[in-house]
Amino acid sequence: MKVLIFEDSNWINLTPLSYIKPVFELRCGFSTLFDKIRCKVEKMEIGLWVREYLINLIKAKYNYPVNDESFFMDDLLLINSRWLVTSKDKIEIIDEGIYQSEGDFVYAVLKQGTVKKIWDGDIDRFISEIKNHVKKEEKNVRIIKYPWHFIHFNSEILQDDFEFIGKSGIKGKFHSNAIIYGDEKRVYTEKDSEVHPFVVLDTHAGPIYIDKKAKIFPNARIEGPCYIGEDTQIMPGANIREGNSFGPVCRIGGEVEESIFHSYSNKYHDGFIGHSYIGEFVNLGALTTNSDLKNDYSSVVVYVNGKPVDTGELKVGSFIGDHTKTSIGVFFNTGSSVGMMCNVTSGGILPKFFPSFIWYINGRYMKGLGIEMMLKTAKIAMERRGRTLSLEEEEVIRKVYEITEEQRKEYISKSRKIT
């Protein structure tokens, strides 16, 4: 039996985070959705299925077959990449059937005959057709439908990942004037990590995992549950509240609460970020702050691909796409969605939705410096962290620039003084 981890057309509901990466690369807890699924099926033959414009990029990044139709000629375990797998979740490969969670596809076990009968080349049609051919069963699992779901589940998943990995103790440098406040067994520091003097690791509310080469500078206070990724640095005096995941090579200062920084992003300075998901190669200028709670305590509305969606949650921060930059002193409204490669400058009450590649200056949406200049900036930012923008990545960014053009023009046009 082969395994196919796929993304369906719901990737659009995870924008701006999912514009230049497949859904399964998004992060929750210690790792990505893909890493968590792979743990359950690593002995099987794995294939990936992504939206068309990502195919070349994913082929270049992974050693797995990508959008390989031969997978539909065999017995098949089909897994939705929006499934946030925990250590307790089990995949039962006994009978043919489809497993759903509140109507959303989780996974299906299919015999070759059924697969061949249904497959017509379209993954979304295939998914919706399966239920007419095999038995259905409900599963109580976590499916990511919108960006704020990553934040909703992050604390629980951090705890689960720590227990699943099962490591505890100090393997890196730990200064004698740094302390663990709470249960010492709930801390693990990897080799080559550094915890400097007067750092407080508070484990009363959850565990803290500090990965390889991560550095925690003096006077930082870190509350568990928390994951600090490889080569990430926590700046002096930072106030890292509960429920944060920092992917590799981030620089984090100021106050951060219940947030995910995907990787390679900077928030060096003071300012508060809470209940937010910050993409890759994002740079937040000094004092950039987001609201995550409305003054009337009503549920937060977030714009998903330009349309308002009631989250049903009281605490929701910002969702910021890859390569976006903010100036000093930007204050994001509760539940803001900021596209990829945007440039947002401070000034007044900001809108809650920023189409990708837009510049927001003096209270108005504007065209940016053009795609060529934005790519040039991205290349510089990546080189500063030892990364190169691959041809495949560049191709994907250009494609997203194209598919978001209409939305961008609409917002610029609305923002005009004279139209």
Binding site: N362, K367, G370, I418
Partner: protein, 82 residues
């Protein structure tokens, strides 16, 4: 639209956005070196020209324009092709 009219309106916009005395803006003035235009201001200029003349300028091409005279020519060309 005559070139003189475009020039007058262009200079007025430049003066307003960059805070430079209109009398000091010549056709030869270079946006960055002579008028001190920052990248953010160049985007404001593009937006203001588009609004003033009802035209659509392609970002990469617009940002290649380095002098006031070239901006006037650029806008004139867009108006002719409208």
């Amino acid at each position: 639209m005559e070139k003189q009219e475009i020039e007058a309106r262009v200079k007025k916009i430049i003066s307003k956005i960059l805070g430079v005395d209109e009398g000091k803006i010549t056709s030869e003035s270079r946006f960055v070196e002579d008028l001190g235009t920052e990248s953010v201001q160049s985007l404001e200029l593009v937006a203001a020209f588009e609004e003033e003349f009802g035209i659509e300028m392609e970002e990469d091409a617009a940002l290649e324009v380095k002098t006031v005279d070239k901006a006037i020519e650029f806008i004139k060309k867009h108006l002719e092709n409208k």
